[in-house]
């Protein structure tokens, strides 16, 4: 049994008067890549943000290595946990290297110069995300894919053992999606980083994760390995689709290679019977 890195108990969260989910219990295993999947609006981003204390829960507790997060200062949490948000923004004139150096904030004692340790970590973060080549450019001059890697580098510069990623591949082309996920995989393998992310692409989720959490309408439907989740009945329940699954002969992970919506089938729509 792997011990849990993050655990939520009876967690209730949402925005203003809207409660997105209530009384959720989740445990994230140490050293694993856990991906939350589910249809739009199911509460997966809200869950991630609440776990990452970006959003304050309405009720319940989140434990970071069995310690109540409310009892830890936000700066101390920032040394253990970094979150890459869905729509990060920075001034366009900011230089890449400077943005990445912001990740050192929780480790810096004074506001003056970066220590040699800071610089070393920044170099490492740029190296692992392959952003060193454009370190002197301004954010405005970067493509979407480059920008996402820079943001990832900033999160890495925080030097945490937990990384939360909110849809890190959205808006990226196929090659960049894969590149970002491979960086994540490498962090997990080489640095034992515990990773929790939200992904829309269930094939990517299956390929890169140890564990999937399937959510629907504010409930956790089921938790399990990619093989257990990429399964006809589960996908039918979660996404309301009729999926066709096979095993990728190259890497052995399950792949959904085609699907139809159940709605169209029920109605006998034009796409209903071409499977």
């Amino acid at each position: 049994m792997v011990e849990s890195m993050i655990r939520a108990e009876q967690l209730t969260s949402g925005y203003e008067k809207l409660t997105v989910f209530s009384d959720l219990d989740v445990a994230i295993k140490k050293g694993h890549i856990t991906t939350i999947i589910g249809p739009n609006g199911c509460g997966k981003s809200t869950l991630l943000k609440t776990i990452g204390r970006i959003l304050k829960q309405k009720n319940g507790d989140v434990f970071l290595q069995e310690k109540d997060m409310k009892s830890i200062s936000t700066k101390a949490i920032a040394k253990q946990l970094a979150l890459l948000s869905q729509n990060p923004e920075a001034p366009l004139q900011l230089k890449v290297e400077e943005l990445i150096s912001y990740g050192r904030f929780p480790h810096r004692k004074n506001v003056g110069k970066l220590s040699s340790k800071d610089k070393q970590v920044i170099e490492w973060a740029m190296d692992i995300t392959r952003t060193t080549a454009f370190r002197d450019r301004e954010i405005a001059q970067l493509s979407g894919g480059q920008r996402q890697k820079v943001w990832l580098a900033m999160a890495l510069a925080q030097e945490t053992n937990i990384l939360l990623l909110d849809e890190p591949t959205t808006y990226l082309d196929l090659a960049h999606q894969l590149e970002v996920l491979q960086i994540v995989e490498r962090l997990n393998k080489e640095h034992q980083c515990t990773i929790i992310m939200v992904l829309h692409d269930i094939n990517h989720a299956a390929r890169f994760s140890h564990e999937l959490i399937a959510m629907k309408a504010g409930e956790i439907v089921t938790v399990g390995s990619p093989n257990e989740i990429l399964e006809k009945d589960v996908l039918k329940e979660v996404f309301h689709i009729n999926a066709r699954i096979m095993i990728d002969p190259e890497n052995g992970s399950p792949v959904c290679f085609g699907y139809d919506t159940l709605l169209a089938q029920e109605q006998g729509g034009p796409y209903g019977d071409n499977g």
Partner: protein, 343 residues
């Protein structure tokens, strides 16, 4: 932060200081009573003192220049903070209703003290020292109203902050107007001139009243300046870095309210400096707030000293309020910014 950025900053600041000194020199030697450089220098150095020169320099011109410089500094610094915290380049202390709140409080004070406060003289030093306090309370009341409406779900909603600010600003403006209409005729005129921003009745007591506020709060802001760089990211990223966003924003905003109130209490509401100075500063030294804040303060100083010089000379011997000069210079600049930000 690179070395070239730092060099550019020091060059800019030195240049600005030279310009401020130059503007100050023009201001002190020119006026209805022209003086030569030699007269000014000998008077300042107390070499063969002359009563007329003493009066003009120490009682009229010097306090006025010092106040212009301090007000410009305060508004430039506070404007940078307000723009930084709201992440909105078109925000300005005036738009946020803080000016109007502080202004209304001081109009009330004027009404209660029957204008004694604006008449120079040492007998009413207490009421002059009270002015910034009153202004701060007014600015704070405005800020609390704005905050409580803009505060949603445990965080500060920037759009609501600006919208509420505009509403509160008109509300307090109306209140000031209403109270000033209740005043006696002479008082009303004084209050109106004061409200449009003027410093020609400057004296040393005003400086004593506002100086402590600046001496305490500007360093507080400067110490927190680096945080304004982080506050330019979007909320989730800032929180993820372990920055207590709401607390830091509150410290920065409250300090700015104090600075603005001190400025408003001596000069009335001078708008547009808080808007223009940060923009000019960013053009000069880039986006790092450690550099932008002092530069913006210096730009503010320069703008107010020059504007005040224009205010006193253009229609001499009649004076126009410096706030009006600033507005005349500021409106086209504001429109320019709007057009540019659209493009």
């Amino acid at each position: 932060m690179h070395k070239q950025d730092r060099n550019r900053f020091f060059m800019t600041i030195s240049g600005l200081f030279a310009l401020i000194c130059f503007a100050g020199y023009i201001h002190i030697t020119n006026g209805t009573f022209d003086m030569s450089v030699k007269d000014v220098v000998t008077t300042l150095l107390r070499m063969n003192p002359n009563h007329d020169f003493d009066l003009v320099i120490f009682e009229f011109r010097l306090p006025r220049i010092v106040i212009a410089a301090l007000v410009g500094l305060g508004l430039g610094v506070a404007g940078t903070v307000v723009q930084g915290v709201t992440r909105n380049g078109l925000a300005d202390p005036g738009i946020l209703g803080i000016n109007a709140g502080a202004g209304a409080a001081i109009v009330i004070l004027m009404f209660l003290f029957q204008m004694q406060v604006t008449v120079s003289g040492t007998s009413n030093w207490l009421s002059i020292l009270i002015m910034p306090v009153f202004g701060f309370v007014g600015g704070l009341v405005a800020a609390i109203i704005i905050y409580s409406i803009a505060w949603r779900n445990g965080k500060l909603d920037t759009e609501r902050l600006i919208l509420t600010g505009i509403a509160i600003s008109s509300g307090f403006g109306a209140l000031s107007m209403y109270i000033s209409l209740k005043m006696r005729e002479g008082d009303f005129e004084m209050a109106t001139v004061w409200m449009s921003g003027s410093i020609y009745n400057a004296n040393w007591l005003f400086i004593v009243a506002m100086l402590p506020w600046l001496l305490i709060l500007v360093p507080v802001i400067y110490r927190k300046a680096y945080l304004l760089d982080y506050l330019q990211l979007e909320e989730a990223s800032i929180k993820s870095l372990g920055i207590r966003v709401e607390k830091e924003k509150s410290i920065l905003l409250l300090s700015s309210i104090g600075v603005i109130s001190a400025c408003v209490s001596v000069s009335g509401s001078i708008s547009f400096i808080g808007l223009m100075a940060p923009h000019i500063a960013r053009q000069l030294v880039g986006i790092h707030h450690r550099y932008v804040i002092p530069t913006s303060g210096a730009v503010g100083m320069l703008l107010v000293v020059i504007s005040d010089y224009i205010a006193k000379t253009v229609f001499a011997p009649a004076e126009i309020p410096v706030g009006i000069v600033v507005a005349i210079l500021g409106v086209p600049y504001f429109l320019y910014l709007l057009v540019k930000s659209k493009a």
